[in-house]
Symmetry: C2
Subunit: 332 residues, 2 copies
């Protein structure tokens, strides 16, 4: 059974995911996945995944049959499990919790060799609709405190299958990094009575040196204190703490700026591995006035990222002003 | 000029290292370095590095000539610079600081193709002596608040040269991760009046399920809430907050357990890329009673590490109890 364990020093919860347990020989030096071969996310292989939670598909087609253009299924090797009771227990001085939660896969397209950067507007929009729909459904389970939507692209980005997909993990606790953001944003608000993200957005617009793209609803920019080369954040221009409350009209403008930003990264860095993570408020809606949902996109240019995540000390050889210039000037 | 920039939300300082500035085409998908070819760390090439700070070498040899067995030089492409004034300044809402600091390279051996895991006792001990000596010398510069000693092994671990080397970065601020450890350890001490690391060590000894190796002075164990597969921490068994205060006799026992642990990882995971970071108290000696220095070793098994460092949410498919069993049973 998967188990949450709490680091007794910094109090970070980690998941020991026994259902995905690995032996040493499973760890080879990462290389790009071999293309071709069997893929459970291709048309005709729907029966090889757990039954779909939902899919966007023509009305005349059966669930778990071809025809869909976006499909959401439970992760076959889930890090957490919805069928176990939430139970906290001690282990000597250590704290643990049963690994309750949901772990789902959003199969973004039937096109095995496509990638988010290359979707047309409609496909990108439908993928975001799948995120929004699941986010709103999962939120109904009041045992959950946080819903994490993210994408690992490329083997070096942590993707175990090359077929384009993203993941959703819904858990009964709030990740430490999110808590830090909430606390930091609250301190700023208490001091300034303004949202720190809203202030960042206004300063980015005034300076206009780190903006990658902007549309009526969203702005994409390389953050002033970027940890990673070509890191880009995308945020709504009007204050909103909750991804689940995105307006219908914004789903499209968000999908397009996300796709465009990924396409810029694809072109400038030759389809690098990357991760993106949607940062939003906990499901119980903390942070309404002081938090601001956004997406953080982190290309995985491993050669320069080093010991950083072990030390909390980041060295970035690419000034965000330069990264923004390269990304902004891409011919889309 | 390199510049520290502070994230306005979580208040993390990052370094924008302009001296190492990269263009997009510098970022290729990481692969192991080509062996052979010119290496600035080989005998005879001493003049191609900045002049050595010091070296362990026979008395009858000149500085910056062959004969040394460990050599410390300034990093040719430093992330920070010792020759600039510490100066803090604002940038609209953002905070920045001139990139003052020291960035040095410890060339661990003249043997181009060796690796820490394969050093004999003496060589490992001499490398650790180089760490200790520089730590104590750098601490004399009272402008510094923290000295980071770390190693990136393998291209996927962030090493830009295959010749065995570690790095030392000394900076005028304390990395966020270290502050979190200090605060967490202090909270625990305030509550329990005991050091949290000392308590962890006693519980590890009682349970004896996560211990990898132990000698008279040190213990190596897979932490209960390991973030990464085969993560191992090494800590002194007698409370000590300050790596710089390691006793002469402990330099050897520490060097040996570090080398042994790296050798176990080398054998079980077939020489994977890894990072290790020495976590110690700030140079101004905060944490004397409640902090405990230690080393964190993190194999870089990228295929499973994913979006974690972007979200603060870690999924580890290898229970530390299993990792310890594999590592412990290695024939050294």
């Amino acid at each position: 059974m998967p188990e949450y364990r709490k680091d007794p020093v910094v109090r970070r919860w980690v998941i020991i995911a026994t259902e995905r347990a690995k032996r040493p020989h499973d760890f080879t030096v990462p290389k790009e996945e071999a293309k071709g071969g069997f893929c459970p996310f291709d048309y005709g292989n729907e029966h090889t995944t757990p039954p779909e939670i939902f899919a966007f598909r023509p009305e005349n087609t059966e669930p778990n049959s071809p025809g869909w253009w976006v499909r959401v299924v439970p992760n076959k090797f889930p890090a957490v499990n919805p069928d176990i009771e939430i139970e906290k227990y001690g282990h000597g001085m250590y704290d643990a919790m049963a690994g309750f939660g949901y772990h789902e896969v959003v199969v973004e397209t039937p096109e095995h060799s496509s990638t988010f950067a290359l979707y047309d507007d409609k496909q990108a929009e439908e993928v975001v609709w799948a995120y929004v729909k699941r986010f709103r459904q999962l939120r109904e389970d009041k045992r959950l405190k946080y819903i994490l939507i993210f994408k690992n692209h490329g083997a070096l980005g942590g993707a175990s299958l090359p077929h384009p997909h993203s993941q959703i993990i819904a858990i009964p606790s709030v990740p430490k990094r999110v808590l830090e953001e909430l606390n930091g944003a609250k301190d700023y608000y208490d001091y300034k009575e303004r949202c720190v993200f809203c202030d960042m957005i206004s300063q980015e617009k005034i300076e206009n040196r780190r903006i990658v793209e902007e549309n009526e609803d969203f702005i994409a920019f390389a953050p002033y204190a970027s940890r990673f080369p070509f890191e880009v954040w995308i945020a709504p221009k009007v204050h909103s703490h909750d991804f689940g409350k995105i307006e219908d009209s914004q789903v499209k403008t968000f999908a397009i700026i996300l796709r465009n930003t990924l396409k810029r990264i694809y072109k400038v860095l030759d389809n690098p591995p990357y991760n993106f993570v949607i940062h939003t408020s906990p499901t119980y809606e903390e942070g309404k006035i002081y938090y601001h949902w956004h997406v953080e996109i982190m290309p995985r240019l491993t050669r320069v990222a080093g010991f950083e995540w072990g030390s909390g000390f980041y060295i970035n050889p690419v000034p965000p002003e330069d990264a923004a210039k390269y990304l902004k000037n891409v011919e889309l």
